[in-house]
Assembly symmetry: C2
Homo-oligomer: 383 residues x 2
Amino acid sequence: MAGNQQHKLCMVPGPIEFHEDVLTALSTPSHSHVSPDFIPVFGECFGLLRKLLFTEKGQPFIVAGSGTLGWDMVASNLVEQGEDALVLNSGYFGDSFTACLKTYGAKVTQVHAEIGDRPTIESIHEALSQNTFKIVTITHVDTSTGVLSDIKAISELVHKKSPNTLVVVDGVCSVGCEEIRMDEWGLDVVMSASQKAIGVPPGLSILVASERAIDVFKNRKSPVTSYYASWHNWLPIMNAYEAKRPSYFATPPVQLIYGLHTSLKQLTATSLEARFEQHKTVSDMIKRTFDELGLKMLPKSLDMAAHGMTAAYYPEGIQGLDLLRKMSAHNIVAAGGLHKAIASKYFRIGHMGISVVESERQHIQQVLDALKASLHELGYKKA
Amino acid sequence: MAGNQQHKLCMVPGPIEFHEDVLTALSTPSHSHVSPDFIPVFGECFGLLRKLLFTEKGQPFIVAGSGTLGWDMVASNLVEQGEDALVLNSGYFGDSFTACLKTYGAKVTQVHAEIGDRPTIESIHEALSQNTFKIVTITHVDTSTGVLSDIKAISELVHKKSPNTLVVVDGVCSVGCEEIRMDEWGLDVVMSASQKAIGVPPGLSILVASERAIDVFKNRKSPVTSYYASWHNWLPIMNAYEAKRPSYFATPPVQLIYGLHTSLKQLTATSLEARFEQHKTVSDMIKRTFDELGLKMLPKSLDMAAHGMTAAYYPEGIQGLDLLRKMSAHNIVAAGGLHKAIASKYFRIGHMGISVVESERQHIQQVLDALKASLHELGYKKA
């Protein structure tokens, strides 16, 4: 069995630490992508993803690519040239989604929030009053700031104010660790990637589209303007594998899909509610510790802080790189800042997946111990 | 160390059998994509790819995706709306490349060949006389038919007849097993994927662009119309990693890149010329055996037959699925047909990578033994 020996704990907000069974699945010997061994493995992933997102009829897409490819799928399949999109921007990833939508010809309106904040319900209401949008996009957790959006409340608002608008959730840093009820909350697209709370090495773009979104796609007036991201190419493949039939558009990433299958079975084997609750409990404890250490977090308040990551400013007098290096010397890899405006001023740690739900691994304790020891070694004293 | 135990030999024309060290690399524990451990691993892959393709200054792109994504990179970065592209079509993959180019607005002219044949030098000459093309695309080995194109001769012709036309080679089924001299032969793009003769599980789109191609890209008049395939997004990332600096556009597929690094080091550790020669020798032996068995191969003659795969018609009276099932019972996974016009009438075997260059594994002998035994069990007698 492949192991996790001899490496610094990867406690960034993705890639996360991976279960040994997932790593073992990654080293599955070669299988043809159309072999009777592999087809059911791929085929079962669709139902498991539906279970994870609480959807009966959502259509999963599992494609070789990074999470970024999910934006292309949304922008090229669901929006046509000149149509309006509303981006609720809570950080770096709202900017990038905007750039992607514009590439495919969307007219983008953004509701901005200050760093550490998220667009208010009032500002979203206001934006929805000014125009009719084909889609509204929400970054569930902006990995650059650790800000959590209230996708349930926003979706409710959109459905009330603008019932034909599709609700698109960027769940890269939330699927698997934050509650997401696709059907009940009326979400039309939830897109993610493998390497965060889904618990699989990077390389898979994972997206689930509602029946309504698929209908919008099928009723396009103009052709899809991407080839690799086109659902015309992928939908028949996804349907075939789910029906346990071989099919070919592009060679699926067989070993990553073995890993996905292993991880999704783990994720759905026990209560998802309990999993989300564990992420909350651990996150609360981490944030309390940060508070006690006098570290100022980026999110303006706890109710808008993600439960799978924590972002905090370096304390005064501490050089960021020094802190990250010290933590690394304590065998903990943390991440620097990503939001361009303040990248050198803050750091981030991830707390998702096995690091949270398998407390016997003591990952969280090791991170907090390393943080405290590193700050101490750098002469930090709480102000 | 991850192993290759207990599985049927995957002898399709990709994914191929993977070396144990590559599988072990795939199960590398989690590393941040910007960690000092990972950056040099990724960074070294660029030089290794140049070595594999005999290019001094070609620019590699290594991106999460399937080989198909390479077509999007070519179509969206090198061709602008309404520009002309010439596709030399030797099978299924020429059709698909055409569809991709059209998606991004290219006007496509095709030179077709009959199944098992390739466009003649005369027909290419003729096409080049009728129009000026921005790019000409050649499928080096069409995996659907096993037909090999003479990219050296075609490139020479294109440079002579139409010096500004970019020469684009789809090398998905050739990079690593067929000789490709990018600089000497004047190739502007060679695109490939990880799972064939490069010897790494599927999930990586690998492309190398000449300086001239990068210049054409940089001097575009209109914006690139893909986001995920845009070199504007990827070029700075590739340059940063090669310079051993962290950078971020999308999370790279860390574990697959560990696998790529392992395999490229193996591939380039000994003479590439010897490697290509070994593939020729083994291919010749396989094709002789097919001849002796009375199996008719798809390529019209040996000089246009690929050296990493063999495609042959099922003999009369043998049901295709029966043969594949029998071979599977002998622990050999072979592939059915892919070319839509004749998919049910032929089968394919792959012979690339460790199955060829590590003869002590006896993979080739096992394939031929299984084929002979299966035909015998099905009552086949040479006509």
